[in-house]
Amino acid sequence: MMTPIEQIDIKIEPFEQNTGNILPTLHQIQHALSALLKSDQTTSIDINAMPFAPGEKQTLKDTLSTGEVTATLNALGKSHIYETQYAGVWWIEHYNSHEHSVGQFIEVTWIPELLKSQAEDVQAGLERLLATL
């Protein structure tokens, strides 16, 4: 059987590669935070839509660091959601049921939408509860 790619031992050697895209992203986050405070406006940044050199994503992650809240979601595979050291800046990474990353986002918001209970699910839960009672 073929070795799944994630089991191949890949060693990424750090080398000087720099797209220069980290700083603009940080600036974008800074503007998004101001907008959140000023006008309640939320922002979502699709990390995968940006060209990053190997290791740069990690650098961005390291720069933002982790904050007070960490959550794991279990819906169609896991999702890791945590607040960075900058309150209001959330790092969200979705995985499929094979633990493959299917999307990475930075959300600048009071609380990510996905963390909230969804009305439809509440409705379904209520119906289930009623049925047991």
Binding site: T19, H100, V102, F105, Q118, V122
Partner: protein
């Protein structure tokens, strides 16, 4: 915080209904839509619209025809298939015919195709991978039916055609010089249906599903002059390449194992076709976003561009002519030399004649018409 109401139930027979029936929570659906939007290269701001559209979108019938191909496209797709998030898109369609994947074979399979066509006439989506040989219809047949006949027949009732892979989109490898089978692309044969080309050898799997998702949610995506969806093929690899800064700075790998290559410098000189290749590799990447050719140290081959096999060596820089100039130059110089010497000698001879014709000018010859 505002009061929240559950949304109305999804339309019957819709993608939304299907997903709910699969026991997928609303959170799961939201996550699915977020991932799908990212896959479709849509901004996260589009997620609510996508949620709404997918809830209502009807599940289309899909007929998948494979002609002169290597099954790489199907492989590419199934590699990332269920039970992953993007696999759900594939589940959300009703794949009624795919002779590589379906259990039925021979006449039973063809019957399934004919039934699906009849039932969904004018509404089904036709997906094609592989090119069609016109040199001799016998080069490639399925159940005794030639590729061209099957394509023309099945295309008649299709709402739209998706040409998956470079072979179906442009002719691909079978069409490469000298094209022994007389291979042509789908769009060479069909002119009266909307055609979406999803080129690539193979195409990025999430691009295939992304196109299908777009078709489900919003109908035909916006296409470029080569009928490619602009969302995935709108930008070239070079512009989105993380090695672009090295190109700008003039730092290039000269060989595959020199210092520059180790430092991850630009691969332009090693023949990278990134500047002329329109695809999403540089951002979407391959193998669940692990990497893409350039990140792995090899230049882009331009596999999603027409006639990429015939563009000279994969290892020749884009600015370099594809042919071998040596011989042409030799002939040109030989011809230039021969004609030049002939012309030069003719001129010399004319000049010698002029010297011979010279009549000595005396002071009495300085007037017009007068001649000594």
């Amino acid at each position: 915080m505002s009061t929240r109401k559950p949304s109305s139930s999804p339309a019957p027979g819709s993608v939304g209904e299907y997903l709910r029936a699969q026991g997928i929570s609303r959170r799961g659906f939201l996550k699915f839509c977020t991932a799908t939007a990212s896959m479709m290269a849509l901004s996260p701001a589009f997620v609510p619209r996508l949620v709404e559209a997918l809830e209502k979108a009807p599940r289309p019938s899909v007929i998948w025809l494979s002609f002169q191909e290597c099954t790489g496209c199907t492989e590419s797709l199934t590699r990332s298939h269920a039970p992953t998030v993007e696999g759900l898109i594939f589940d959300a369609i009703s794949l009624d015919y795919h002779h590589t994947l379906q259990a039925a074979s021979g006449e039973a399979a063809e019957l399934a195709r004919e039934e699906a066509m009849k039932e969904n006439w004018g509404k089904y989506v036709l997906v094609v991978d592989g090119s069609i040989p016109l040199g001799n219809p016998g080069f490639s047949t399925i159940a005794g039916i030639s590729n061209v006949d099957m394509l023309m027949d099945t295309a008649k009732g299709a709402a739209a055609i998706v040409s998956v892979g470079t072979c179906a989109a442009y002719g691909g490898l079978p069409q490469a010089d000298p094209n022994p089978t007389g291979a042509v692309s789908v769009q060479d044969l069909i002119k009266d249906k909307p055609i979406i080309n999803v080129p690539g050898c193979p195409p990025i799997p999430v691009v295939i599903t992304g196109v299908l998702a777009h078709f489900l949610a919003f109908g035909l995506p916006e296409l470029d002059e080569l009928n490619r969806p602009k969302v995935f093929y709108g930008q070239n690899i070079h512009d989105r390449c993380y090695r672009r800064p090295f190109y700008e700075r003039g730092q290039f790998a000269e060989t595959f194992d020199d210092e520059g290559a180790k430092k991850g410098w630009c691969l332009y000189k090693l023949g990278c076709k990134g500047p002329t290749t329109y695809n999403a590799c540089a951002t979407t990447k391959w193998n669940q976003g692990a990497s893409f050719p350039i990140e792995s140290g090899h230049g882009c081959l331009g596999c999603s561009e027409p006639r990429f096999w015939d563009g000279g060596s994969f290892y020749k820089a884009l600015s370099v002519p594809t042919g071998d100039l040596g011989q042409t130059a030799g002939y040109a110089l030989a011809a230039g030399g021969a004609v030049g010497i002939a012309a030069g000698l003719l001129a010399r001879q004319k000049k010698a004649q002029a010297v011979k014709d010279h009549e000595t000018v005396t002071v009495n010859d300085l007037h017009k018409g007068e001649h000594s």
